[in-house]
């Protein structure tokens, strides 16, 4: 039985060694897991991106969130070009070990458009409405 199946019936407070857990994560065919970033205090869902094992291990060891950029095929230290970093407060795995939840402290905007979060497009009837303002002009964000 896999470790995530066993964790399901653990009592609250019981634990398993992280090293064994990392071996049993259900990476997709590209070796990635989706990672949801949530602002730790307000609960805002900021963005979703992807991690490979190296990104996950770097995030856990440095406390600064690192994703895997699928477009650049490289480690993506969030904020490396914009300065808008995510400090890790807590990292969780879901019940079947195929999704990561990051509780983070996001400096400024998480979104490359300069908005606080990436989910600024809301369905309203038969329209999709933009309902958030950028905090910073993206031209500013990537100049520094």
């Amino acid at each position: 039985m896999g470790i995530f199946k066993r964790l399901e019936s653990f009592a609250t407070g019981d634990s398993a060694p992280l090293a064994a857990v990392l071996e049993d994560l259900r990476w997709n065919a590209d070796g990635l897991l989706p990672a949801i970033s949530q602002q730790f205090d307000s609960g805002e869902v900021l963005m979703m991106a992807w991690m490979n094992r190296a990104a996950l291990e770097e995030t856990l060891s440095t406390g600064r969130v690192c994703f895997w950029s699928r477009s650049r095929q490289a480690l993506w230290r969030k904020g490396e070009s914009s300065g808008q970093v995510q400090r890790l407060k807590e990292l969780r795995f879901d019940c079947d070990g195929d999704t990561i939840l990051l509780k983070v402290d996001q400096t400024g905007p998480a979104c490359h458009t300069g908005r606080r979060d990436c989910f600024f497009n809301r369905v309203e009837g038969d329209r999709l409405v933009v309902d958030r303002e950028p905090l910073i002009d993206p031209a500013e964000l990537y100049r520094q």
Copy 2:
């Protein structure tokens, strides 16, 4: 230019037709998008699952969340066997049209383990700790 690229520079309150947006979503190779369920009032991230276009359209038209089950290869009307449904309060797409955020009202536990949410495994140093109690015994949940 794709519609999501154009939405980036829309002013707050501007909108695009949903029909065109649905054509421009960035489905993965299996025709799926990740969908994050968040409890609308408390902000808890409950779970992440997948939607194909049929699941998304059904969710929007019925107001009851429907995913695509990758294991069963079938539409999965959340709560169809457990009774623990998700009522849709709001549906959002992210900046590049490849992730869905569902604000929902979750009846009881979202997780098949009987816990409120699926993210009950928290990293603590070199251990993974279970830190949530089931609300309901899963044997109860799937008997009805």
